[in-house]
C-alpha cells in the first residue's frame, strides 16, 4: 500500500511541476515577447552578425539539444508490487519555435533493462515427437526493452537511421554466437523478440510522450508485474525533420525492498538455512491444517 501511495504522490508532484512550468513559460512568453521583438535585431547586430558572416550555412540557429531526468533514481518492489507507471521528464533546448509548432521535432525514449545471456532452442519434429533441436546463444540480451515515441517509428525517420542507432525492436543489436547463416539468426532474433513481447517485457508504444510546453516533455512507461530487477538505462533521442540531432542518457535501478529483498537475499546467501526454514514452515502449516480440520 505504501508503495502505491508513494508512487501516486510522485506522479502527482510530477504533474504539478509540469503545470507550474507550463504556466511560467506561458507567462514568460507573453511578457517578453514584445521585448524580444525589439531586442532581437539589436542583439543580432551586435553579436549575430559576425557569427553569421563566419558561418556559411543559411541557418544560423544553434544545434538543438535535449536533456532528461528520472524522477526517482530507484524504483522499489515491495511485497504488494503489481506493476507501476513510470515517468521520465525531459527538456528541449535551442529548438526552433516554428518547427516545434509544426511538430517537426520527434522524440524517442528507450528504457532498457539488465542484460542476460540466453539460449534459444528451436523445437523440431523427430520421429513424431516435438523436441529441442538446434540452438543459438545470444549474449547480453536486455531483459526488458520499452520504447516510447512521439509518432509511429516509420513516420519519424528512415530505417538506415534506426539501423545505425540500433534503435527499435526491429534493429535491436543482439549478438548471436554459433555458426549459423545470417538469415537463420535473423529468424531466431524475431522469434526471441516475439516471445519477449508476449511476456510483456518488450514493447513499443506510440504517443506515450506528452509535451508539457514547447520545451518540456514527459515519457510514460508501464513497468509490468514481471519486470526484472537490476540496473536500467534510459536513452532519449531527438530528431529534427527526421534527422537525428541529439541524444541524452541516464540510469536508474529497480530493486527489491523490505521483505521481498530480505527473502531474496536469504535465499542467495544462506541457502541451506533458507531451505531448512522452508521445510519447517511447511511441516508447521501441515500440522496447523490438521488441527484446524480434525477428523
Amino acid at each position: 500500500m505504501m508503495f502505491l501511495v508513494q508512487a501516486g504522490s510522485i506522479c502527482l508532484s510530477c504533474l504539478a511541476a509540469f503545470q507550474r512550468s507550463k504556466k511560467l513559460l506561458a507567462a514568460c512568453r507573453r511578457k517578453y515577447c514584445r521585448l524580444a521583438v525589439i531586442a532581437a535585431p539589436v542583439f543580432i547586430a551586435f553579436i549575430g552578425l559576425p557569427t553569421a558572416q563566419a558561418q556559411e550555412e543559411p541557418s544560423n540557429t544553434p544545434q538543438e539539444t535535449l536533456q532528461i531526468i528520472v524522477t526517482a533514481r530507484d524504483i522499489t518492489i515491495d511485497a504488494n508490487f503489481a506493476g507501476t507507471d513510470f515517468y521520465i521528464a525531459g527538456v528541449l533546448e535551442n529548438t526552433d519555435p516554428l518547427l516545434r509548432r509544426q511538430n517537426r521535432y520527434d522524440i524517442i525514449v528507450v528504457l532498457e533493462g539488465p542484460q542476460q545471456n540466453i539460449v534459444l532452442y528451436k523445437k523440431e519434429r523427430r520421429l513424431g515427437l516435438w523436441l529441442n533441436g538446434s540452438s543459438v546463444k545470444f549474449t547480453n540480451v536486455p531483459q526488458f526493452y520499452a520504447l516510447a515515441s512521439t509518432r509511429e517509428l516509420r513516420d519519424i525517420t528512415v530505417p538506415q537511421t534506426y539501423q545505425s542507432l540500433g534503435l527499435g525492436l526491429n534493429y535491436l543489436p543482439l549478438h548471436a554466437k554459433g555458426r549459423l547463416s545470417p538469415e537463420a539468426i535473423k529468424l531466431y532474433k524475431s522469434e526471441l523478440i516475439a516471445l519477449k513481447q508476449k511476456q510483456g517485457l518488450y514493447g513499443q508504444e506510440t504517443g506515450s510522450i506528452a509535451f508539457g510546453s514547447t520545451r518540456l516533455f514527459s515519457a510514460r512507461f508501464h513497468l509490468p508485474d514481471n519486470v526484472p530487477v537490476g540496473p536500467y538505462t534510459v536513452k532519449a533521442y531527438l530528431f529534427r525533420d527526421g534527422v537525428y540531432s541529439d541524444e541524452a542518457a541516464t540510469g536508474l535501478e529497480i530493486t527489491r525492498k523490505n521483505i521481498a529483498y530480505s527473502l531474496y537475499h536469504a535465499a542467495q546467501t544462506q541457502s541451506f538455512r533458507y531451505g531448512l526454514a522452508a521445510v519447517l514452515i511447511a511441516i508447521f502449516i501441515g500440522f496447523i491444517g490438521r488441527t484446524i480440520f480434525p477428523k
Partner: protein, 307 residues
Amino acid sequence: MHIYLPIAETSVIIFVPLGLGALVGFFSGLFGVGGGFLITPLLIFYNIPPAIAVGSGANQVIASSAQGAFDHFKRRTLDIKLGLILSLAGLLGSFCGIYIFSFLRRLGQLDLIISLLYVGLLGIVGLLMAQESIKAVLRAGKGLPAMVKRPGRHNFLQKLPWKMRFQSSGLYISLLPVIGLGFIIGILSSIMGVGGGFILVPAMIYLLHVPTNIVVGTSLFQVSFVASFTTIMQAVTNHSVDIVLAVLLMIGGIVGVASGNRLGRRLKAEQLRLLMALLILMIALWLAFGLFIRPAELVTLVTLPGG
C-alpha cells in the same frame, strides 16, 4: 490483490496460488499422493519458471503430505517402520538421481526424458490401476465379495531373504523389494521433481500387498520425507524455492487436503483406486499430447545463469 514473488521475480494475483494449492491439496487428500506431479506442470503453465516450479512445488508437497501423515499417524494407519525404510532408501536414490539429472542435462534432452518418463510411468501405472479397479468395482456392483488376495501367497517377492515383520501392516516380507522400491522412487523424484506417491501407492498395493488403509498414510509419510530433501537440495543448488509462492500454495492446500480427505472416506477403496487411475491417465494423455502436437511456441528460451 497482487503479491510479489521475490524469487520468481513476478507478481501474481493472490487467489491463483491459493486456488492451485486447494486443487492439488484436494487430490492429495483424496488419494494420498503428494501432488507434485500435478503442481509442477500447473505452475509452469502459469508462467512460473520451471526450476522455481519444481522447488516451490516440492516445498508445498511437504505441507499437504505432512498434514495427511499427521492425521494417519493419529488414526494409527501409518506404518512408521515401513515408511522409514522406504524413506532412507529414497534418500540414497535421490543422491544417485541428482547425478543422473546433471548427466541428462549435459546431453541437452532433459525435458524430453522427463516428459517420456512421465508419460511412460503414468501411462503404465494408470492402465494397470484402471484395469484392476474396474474389475473390483464391477464385482462389488454384482454384490460379490471383494477379491480377497491373501498377501503374497504366490508372489516371487516372498521367496527373497532378509525378512522383516511390519506389525502395523501385518506383513512379514523381505527387505529387498522395500529398499528397491524406495531407491527407485528416490531416483525418479530427483529427476522428475516429484515425491513419487503416484508410483509408490500402486506399488505398495500390488507389489508389497500392504493393506490399502495403511498404504495412504505410509506413502504420505515417505513423500513428505523425500519432498523435504528435494526442497533443501533445490534451495542450496539452484536457489529456486520461492517461499512466498510455496506458503500461498500451502494455505490453499490446507482446505483442499481436508475436503479431499472427507470425500475419500465416503468412497470405497476400489472406487478411489479407479478415480486415481483416471486422473493419472488424464495427466499422461495431456503430457503425451504435448509431445506429439505442434507446440504454440516454436522456440524455447533458456536463461543462462550469470548473464
